[in-house]
Symmetry: none
Subunit: 402 residues, 2 copies
């Protein structure tokens, strides 16, 4: 049976109209007990409110009611890919997050520096959370190895976390983790889960053995644990599905990597909110779809900093006026999930969305907020349906059936 992406692919058409998807990471929040208002409701957002008044609003569930999305599933949903069936391995996700340029055939794994005792049993899976600087030093000791014509890249992530990428012929990700996920036992032997992964298991095991030797005198980080061996997935691109020429503006590597996985071109940009909007404007004529990612809201939410999150939303609102002035045919503003400052982390709460286009059948919502969106014309719907809606509003979808 035809799945949803096939359906969209069969009716999508290329046209000059332009769509902008502005993702304010972790946008949704929870009300601050004293004021009863969320971060978005507290922020002064004249431009978002004006757009909400002219457009149509609602609430999305990125993955499903009650499900708290990680960054990858949240964004895959926004791009129209069912985040449950389109899976990205942990190693690949971690590699993407460091801006590592994975090639087809590479196998990536997520690594921890850990502590083993004199008997070889894991006593601390995180090696006392060594500093990121220390992690980078140790990675240098292991980086650049070659084992049986397979080249190894070892790159720091943060604290005790690193990635290792294996590049060579005939590698398969179908091997087991060495991370035992508990202390008091030895690292597990890496084994092939299918016969075609024999070579990979041998090379990964030799890497672990080499790491043990090299790190022997670097207690507490005297061993490595590996998990999530995976290869870059083959997703149909947004060009194939939607016949779009899509570009991404994102200052964090994870989001650039996710955009690359679905075939977007990643534009060079600065780290500020103004920089990102300026990059979009400079490249406006060359693409017909823009994904613009704002990270600060999520970080502030994770830090539990309600006021900082409010401030960043206000900065985005301010920058938005520039985007509105160039009059894209469709503007969508939403988030990949909620990150309420009160919860200090991602959450399952549905995320406000506004869609503006000439053809959107406006509702009566005149303020962009969680509570106002509740009575919006888009209702509450799965995040994967944003792209079909945006495409329809850009008049980029033919009629289905006669």
């Amino acid at each position: 049976m035809m799945d949803n992406l096939e359906l969209i692919k069969s009716i999508s058409i290329s046209s000059p109209s332009k769509i902008v998807l502005l993702v304010i990471d972790g946008l949704g929040g929870l009300p601050e007990p004293q004021t009863g208002k969320t971060e978005l409701e507290t922020a002064n957002t004249p431009n978002l409110d004006q757009l909400a008044a002219k457009g149509i609003c609602g609430l999305i569930d990125p993955v499903g009611p009650g499900i708290t999305p990680g960054s990858a599933p949240g964004h895959l949903a926004l791009f129209g890919y069912d985040p449950v069936s389109f899976n990205i391995g942990r190693g690949v996700l971690e590699a993407i997050g460091t801006d590592f340029d994975l090639e087809q055939g590479d196998v990536a794994a997520r690594g921890n520096f850990c502590t083993v005792d004199e008997r070889g049993l894991v006593s601390d899976r995180r090696a006392g959370r060594i500093s990121t600087e220390k992690c980078a030093e140790l990675c240098q000791l292991l980086d650049g190895l070659a084992i049986d014509e397979v080249r190894l890249f070892v790159c720091p992530v943060r604290e005790h976390r690193f990635i290792v990428v294996f590049r060579g012929e005939g590698l398969s990700p179908e091997v087991s983790d060495s991370d035992p996920q508990q202390v008091g036992v030895a690292p597990k032997i890496i084994t092939a889960l299918r016969s075609e992964a024999d070579r990979m298991s041998s090379i990964a095991s030799r890497f672990a053995a080499q790491a043990e030797t090299t790190l022997a005198r670097h207690h507490p980080a005297n061993m490595v644990l590996l998990r999530g061996f995976s290869q870059r997935p083959h997703f149909p691109t947004m060009g194939e599905i939607y016949k779009l020429k899509p570009a991404a503006v994102a200052s964090y590597p994870m989001y650039r990597g996710l955009a690359k996985l679905v075939g977007m071109e990643v534009l060079e940009t600065g780290t500020g909110i103004e920089d990102e909007f300026a990059t979009l404007k400079q490249n406006y004529t060359n693409y017909d779809f823009f994904f613009l990612h704002i990270k600060g809201t999520d970080s502030a939410g994770e830090d539990g900093d309600f006021d900082r999150k409010v401030g960043i939303i206000e900065q985005v609102d301010d920058a938005l006026s520039k985007l509105i002035s160039i009059e894209p045919d469709v503007i969508v503003v939403t988030g990949d999930h909620s990150t309420p400052a009160l919860l200090k982390g991602h959450s399952w709460h549905p995320v406000p969305i506004l869609l503006y286009s000439k053809w959107c059948r406006p509702d009566k919502v005149s303020e962009f907020s969680e509570s106002a969106c509740l009575s919006g014309g888009l209702g509450r719907f799965p995040g994967t349906q944003i792209m079909p809606l945006a495409m329809a509003n850009a008049l980029k979808l033919n009629k289905f059936g006669a």
Copy 2:
């Protein structure tokens, strides 16, 4: 896993209660910029409003958010059939649209009269859009042929379009199109896509050759292009699924044909709105489900005629009083899709729905309009769920599970 139709089939029961599904084709609209009101919101509709006040309202997505339904998918959804998995071939759909009575085993194809140059290359796929009268004349030249004991029916549709139906033993629709979908090339050779279609490909090819000879002196319509070979699909009937005895009242052939495909009896009726309501009333005792189809709203929308669409909605409202007076147990009023006059075509916007029954748990909506339905008790939901709701409100569904 049990699909939705199997579930309904397992709990549906026959009973004397009666359901009327009034489909106002292309009902949903977009607000006229000066008034901010849609066609339905502009129309004076005391009867619909009264029914909305006593009933429960909402908005449906016939196929899905962002998807603009053709007439066939839109109606299949209203009858409870998933329009993505229940597919109707183009030839069959076209035949249905001319009121042609397809028998099991018939293969129907959609045809174009086209122009070929002296080298046999297609120079105009539509033969200069010849008149419907001319098309009928040319069809007469080809109609009634018999090739290898297969009888051919050639019937005009509109302008350059016609249908050809092949009736005989052992025909398969699994053959390729002859329409190359471009000019400057020869018509494509019709080939069997599976071995059981060898006979069909041979007969279709001989028909094309015969047409070339017959039409040689009828430039610009000197050749035919065929596509969408298909057979009448085997859908479970509404009688099987719902245990209903259903009847259709529709003045346009396409909708009579769709109703036949799902097992409805098609009643003879006149072309006016009053005629259709009168037909329903005359046949009221003989059936327990009525599909009443109003075409004019869609045609007015496609013509971009806002005021005419408003006028037709008012006529329907007027006629509705007769229906209300005979007190069906369940009345559902909705559309198969939106056709905003501003867009001059079908659109993806959700369609207002009202359901009235003694058991409907009324909401606070007191006006039948796109904006009022937004806060209706039915919420926003897929069109395929209308039939289960109507059946439940007619007390025709048993409890599921013990």
